[in-house]
């Protein structure tokens, strides 16, 4: 915090400086001596010290037991677990929570039925942990029953019957894990029953099998983990990059600040090899890119599993107010900071879904997005056959890494990671992350109707707030008690009130509009920001923030521009440039 000056609000720092132990240090520091001279010369100590503080940083390096690098679901999960066990923890993330792979997946807390054949332990762990996640964040999970329709394979009736029989056996095996996550056992549907509940599915199926899974808002999951960690005393630093790692460990942050840690935990996901290299350690993963497409509406009532042209499973599923199609799985050799999506990848997904669910072509594509899976390294297998298992590695000298794994089992992975840390530190209680609820998860969320009546917000907004914030929904809306304008909707598509934005700015480490997008689904709805980016920029008072979010949305919209999407793009451009004149910002008409 180089620009920070000493004000009344952090005069606590001055109190610390008066502390005896520090005084000694100060006396031996020429800058502090200079500060003292200034004070004697009549300049206030506060002012003088503020000037000298920056240079004195090396004297006041903060010490932690554990420094976690990476604000994804692993990093925030580890930070929470460690903080709860009394380990003095600092979490650093170069961008924002869930800004990488944790926010670019399907958003599912699923059991991984797909892995049953070759990775049964992954399935079991995922199911078990899904049950725990339901317990600690009940408001954040939503049930998505899946349909697995069978299309004739063109190899004769006998083959089809054998295939369906095989599939049923498979799901019977999966049923054994369902109770772990409160899932219902599979059922078999006839073609007629299938079309009764999901009329959009192609005609002439051989029926379907159902399967119970859960969805989650992965951005909120990571944010809540970070908030919980902070509540247990961890220091949370998003938008803070690690620029150097020196053994011992002194960690340079943003190139201008240092902290010390006994253990450094690398939870960088696809960036993990880069972080390991900073520590002089070689870490190999087999990164693989996954592309998703978001549609403008809930196209189906259920998740539908479809087969891609290469035989892979691709699904379309309702997620919050939209539908998601995913995903591709291709080896990735580029820079995870520079992901892009091509129309080929989008066409692959649409083609896959179209055969089973033809109406998909009628929907407007809102955007495409990509993430990189930090899969365990293995040479040989096709991407789809790679193990989804995870690995915690002790590289020695107090440097640990975690790679691989699934969103659905993040908590168990964090537990395993912190067990290793606790052992190395010889410190820490037992893991409690499976028992203690995340913020907002302690009691059932308030009913939307009541919330709507009590706070004069629309029922839709009330329902969305109560989903996103659970038991904290009241607290969020209470921010508008003094300022009723905060009850207004910043984003009508996703029911985001200004109160919710303010709550995230004040309590959830949100630094700007792109952070608010992750926490509150700002600009994630059907208009992709045409309505909300201006009003939200007004709340934070920054047009630069407006432009950052416009650019972020444009990045996902650009590869899918066709059909009605172009009208949306034209309207958005007309709003912010044609009418808003954002490209004339800073120009004055007199020169």
């Amino acid at each position: 915090m180089p620009e920070e000056t000493l004000t009344e609000s952090n005069s606590g720092d001055v109190a610390i400086l008066r502390d005896r132990g520090r005084r000694k240090e100060r006396e031996s520091c020429e800058h502090c001596a200079h500060a003292r001279e200034c004070r004697d010369g009549g300049i206030s100590f506060k002012t003088a010290f503020a000037a000298a503080r920056q240079v004195c940083e090396h004297r006041t390096v903060k010490q932690f037991d554990l420094l976690v690098i990476g604000g994804g679901v692993n990093g925030t999960g580890i930070a929470r677990d460690a903080a709860m066990r009394g380990i003095h923890t600092c979490l650093v993330e170069k961008k924002d929570f869930a800004a990488g792979s944790s926010g670019a997946n399907s958003g599912m807390i699923h059991g991984g039925a797909r892995y049953l054949l070759f990775d049964a332990n992954v399935t079991k762990l995922s199911c078990l942990d899904s049950g725990y996640i339901q317990r600690i964040a009940p408001h954040l999970l939503f049930r998505i029953p899946f349909l697995v329709p069978f299309l004739p394979r063109g190899k004769g009736e006998l083959f089809d019957r054998a295939y369906i029989y095989g599939a049923e056996c498979y799901f019977e095996e999966y049923d054994r894990y369902q109770p772990l996550k409160n899932g219902k056992p599979h059922t078999r549907l006839s073609d007629e029953e299938l079309h009764q509940i999901e009329p959009g599915i192609a005609q002439g199926t051989l029926g379907a099998v159902t399967m119970d899974e859960y969805g989650i808002d992965p951005f909120r999951l990571c944010t809540l983990n970070a908030r919980s960690a902070a509540a247990y005393g961890a220091e949370i630093r998003n938008h803070t990059a690690v620029t150097r790692l020196e053994e011992g460990w002194t960690v340079e942050l943003n190139g201008n600040e240092k902290v010390g840690a006994r253990i450094v935990f690398n939870a960088g996901g696809p960036w993990a090899p880069k972080i390991a290299a900073l520590a002089g350690v070689e870490l190999k993963i087999r990164p693989s890119k996954g592309v998703h497409v978001t549609l403008d509406r809930r196209l189906s009532n259920y998740g539908v599993i479809c087969r891609a042209i290469d035989g892979r499973d691709v699904f379309v599923m309702p997620h919050e107010d939209s539908s998601i199609i995913g995903t591709t799985d291709d080896d990735f050799y580029g820079d995870p900071d520079e992901l892009s999506v091509s129309q080929d990848e989008i066409e692959y997904l649409l083609q896959a879904v179209e055969r089973t669910f033809p109406v998909v072509r009628g929907a407007r594509i809102l955007r495409a997005w990509a993430g990189v899976r930090p899969t365990l390294f293995e040479y040989g297998p096709l991407e789809d056959r790679l193990s989804r298992d995870h690995r915690v590695t002790d590289h020695g000298r107090g440097f640990f890494s975690i790679v691989g794994g699934k969103l659905a089992s993040f908590r168990a992975m964090a537990e395993e990671a912190v067990d290793a840390v606790a052992k190395a530190l010889n410190k820490g209680d037992r893991c409690r992350t499976h028992q203690e609820p995340l913020p907002g998860g302690a009691t059932p969320p308030p009913a939307a109707e009541e919330l709507s009546r009590a706070h004069d917000v629309t029922a839709f907004a009330a329902a969305r707030i109560s989903y996103r914030h659970g038991a904290e929904a009241e607290e969020v809306l209470a921010l508008a008690n003094e300022n009723p304008e905060l009850l207004a909707l910043a984003c009508p598509c996703e029911g985001v009130t200004f109160a919710e934005l303010k709550f995230s700015l004040e309590r959830e480490f949100a630094g700007g509009l792109t952070d608010l997008r992750r926490r509150c689904r700002l600009a994630m709805g059907v208009c992709q920001g045409a309505r909300c980016i201006g009003p939200a920029a007004a709340l934070v008072g920054s047009l630069a923030e407006a432009e950052a979010l416009l650019d972020e949305r444009w990045k996902g919209h650009r590869p899918v521009l066709s059909g009605d999407g172009l009208a949306q793009a034209e309207l958005l451009q007309a709003t912010y440039f044609g009418t808003g004149a954002l490209h004339h910002e800073g120009e004055t008409p007199w020169r």
Binding site: P559, L561, L566, A569, L571, Q573, A574, T579, P589
Partner: protein, 399 residues
């Protein structure tokens, strides 16, 4: 029974209405078919023709005419047509049109250059206000009250003493949910009350998000201006109403329906199950771009009524990989893909009897000062005139 007119105009926005009015003025009988409100009804209240740095309006238009693909290049006497467009817009409630562009306060607090604007907006030309002005951005309720902060902050770059003025016009908690069109309706009903509240506040000028649908002035003891509006926009609705009225007064026959090519190669108007063929001497296509639905890109770019090829830059289809050529990496970049449209020849001609006007014509981007409502009016007038001329042989034959 076939409908018949000298000139058929397809599209009821600014370009279509301007074409219909000018063809009517040239003595042609005109039938206008409109599917419904399009981009014109969402417009901001400004009418931009051309803005290049701070060049005088006519010079800026000439600069655009030299840019590759801009339809101004195809206009015979550009200066005269600019004058015609200004004249038409002034009859529709727009003011300004001096030598230089107006600089108007945008909803983001930036200054937008435009040739004209609806009169209460044009009056707030930032350049016309004294530098020591103490203007207030009035905060009424909800989201608008929050946006007022951004607008006042923008205004402070021009006038140091600009400030946000909260007003007790709305007092209920639930008023926070009011949208701008709703506020406009409330102001129409409570105009005197608003004026009284403003008179009590001290400011040299008042900027309001809307002054209501009715254009009556507000007596506040100091000048009251309206700001430009993002969609859903009250000025846009006002313009659409003014156009509908002008068309009626000029004796243009207006139909609601979808124009499409008939099996015989002519044009028919479809509404529900009803289908009426149209006999016309000439046609003006003014169907807009993507918002209006005049241009569509599926596997290739096409015009939607006659299925004519459309172009984005030099391309006839959006390629499989988003290219820098059509869509810049950043939102604020230039996007040739969003300036897609049909290609016309001299006089905005598509074929012997078909002309095009407004955003359906490619080559200019409304969001980058290359002409908005003002350009639509200008191109509409030119196309309407050409169409009336092309239809003349038919008129003579029938006489």
């Amino acid at each position: 029974v076939a409908l018949s007119a000298d000139v058929l105009v397809i599209g009821g926005g600014m370009a279509g209405a301007a074409a219909a009015l000018s063809a009517r003025q040239a003595g042609a009988s005109v039938l206008l078919v409109a599917r419904g409100p399009g981009a014109t009804a969402l417009s901001s209240g400004a009418a931009d023709i051309a803005a290049v740095e701070d060049l005088p309006l006519r010079e800026a238009a000439r600069v655009l005419a030299r840019r590759s693909g801009h339809p101004y290049a195809l206009i015979d006497d550009l200066d005269a047509m600019v004058a015609e467009a200004l004249r038409l817009l002034k009859t529709l409630g727009y003011a300004g049109g001096g030598e230089r562009n107006l600089w108007l306060l945008s909803p983001l607090g930036c200054a937008k250059p435009a040739a004209l604007a609806q009169s209460a907006i044009a009056a707030g030309d930032l350049r016309a206000l004294p530098r020591d002005a103490r203007p207030a951005v009035v905060a009424l309720a909800g989201s608008q009250a929050i946006e007022a902060r951004l607008q006042a902050a923008g205004l402070r770059r021009f006038f140091e003493k600009a400030f946000v003025l909260p007003l007790d016009f709305y007092t209920q908690r639930s008023d926070a949910l009011r949208t701008l069109p709703e506020m406009a309706r409330d102001i129409d009903e409570r105009r005197d009350e608003l004026a009284a509240l403003l008179r009590r506040a001290g400011a040299s000028h008042f900027f309001l998000p809307t002054l209501g649908f009715s254009p009556q002035p507000i007596e506040a003891g100091a000048p009251v201006f309206e700001m430009l509006s993002a969609p859903p926009s009250v000025p846009g609705l006002r313009l659409q109403r003014a156009l509908d009225k002008a068309l009626q007064a000029a004796g243009v026959e207006v139909r609601t329906g979808i124009a499409e090519r008939s099996a015989q190669g002519g044009v028919q108007i479809v509404r529900g199950v009803a289908c009426e063929p149209v006999e016309a001497g000439a046609i003006v296509l003014a169907t807009g771009r993507f918002i209006g639905g005049g241009i569509r890109s599926d596997s290739r770019l096409r015009e939607t009524v006659f299925d004519l090829p459309a172009f984005a830059g030099e391309r006839q289809a959006m390629p499989a990989l988003a290219t820098e050529e059509l869509f810049a990496q950043r939102a604020r970049g230039r996007h040739a893909g969003l300036a897609a449209g049909v290609r016309v020849s001299e006089g905005l001609r598509l074929s012997d009897r078909i002309f095009a006007a407004g955003a359906v014509v490619g080559g200019y981007d409304q969001s980058r000062d290359e002409g908005g409502i003002g350009a639509a009016a200008l191109l509409g007038i030119a196309a309407g005139r050409s169409a009336a001329q092309a239809a003349k042989p038919r008129a003579r034959a029938s006489a």
